[in-house]
Symmetry: C2
Subunit: 112 residues, 2 copies
C-alpha cells in the first residue's frame, strides 16, 4: 500500500474556497489501475495558515507513478495554477510506503 500526500498551507479565510475547488473538481482517479481511495484532509490550523493534505491511497508506488504520467493526471492539474493565491508557497509532496507486517485493522488488506 502506498499513500501519496500533498500538503497545502491555506491562507486564513480561504479555507472554504479551497475546499470548494476540491469539491467541484472532476476526478478521473477511478479510471486508474491500482487506485484505492482519495480524501481531502483538513489538518491543524495555525496563526498564518491551515494545513490541508490531499491523501490518495494506491496499491503500490508503481501505480501512483503510472498515474503521474497519464492523461488523467495532466487533465486534473491543468488549472491548478489558478488556485495558488489560496495557499502559501508550493504544495509539499510526501509519498509513504506502508511497512509490511505491521498493519492492524478490520478493513481488507490492500495490495499486500
Amino acid at each position: 500500500m502506498y499513500i501519496a500526500m500533498n500538503r497545502f498551507k491555506v491562507v486564513p479565510g480561504s479555507e472554504e474556497a479551497f475546499e470548494e475547488i476540491w469539491r467541484n473538481r472532476e476526478s478521473r482517479l477511478e479510471e486508474m489501475p491500482g487506485f484505492v481511495e482519495f480524501h481531502l484532509l483538513r489538518g491543524p490550523a495555525g496563526e498564518d495558515c491551515t494545513l490541508y493534505a490531499s491523501h490518495t491511497v494506491w496499491e503500490s508506488e508503481a501505480h501512483f507513478r503510472a498515474w503521474t504520467r497519464s492523461e488523467q493526471f495532466r487533465s486534473a492539474h491543468r488549472n491548478a495554477g489558478a488556485n495558488k493565491p489560496l495557499y502559501l508557497g508550493h504544495p509539499q509532496f510526501e509519498g509513504f510506503e506502508a511497512v509490511p507486517g505491521i498493519r492492524v485493522g478490520r478493513a481488507a488488506e490492500v495490495g499486500g
Copy 2:
C-alpha cells in the same frame, strides 16, 4: 473519518530497528470503538533522517480522543521512551479530519 499521524525522524541506520519495534508491539487498538485501521508508513529518506509516520484511521476525532484517555493507550506508550535514541527530537503529531463530500474511491465509506 479522522486520521491521526505521528511523524518520526528516524536516524540513518536505525530504520530496521525502528520498524522492528512496531512489528513486535502488542496493539490493543482493535479493542477500541471507532478504530478502523493502523499502518506504519515509511516516507522520504533525507540525509539526516528518514521520515516515518504512524497512520491511524478512526471513525471520528471523538473516538481518537477517547483512545488517548484509555488504559489501552497508557499500556501502548509505557515503554515509548526507551526507543527515543532511534529518532531525532520528539514525534510530531498531526490530526486530520476528512473534508465531507470530496471522497473518491471504491472502498466503503467509513463514518460518513
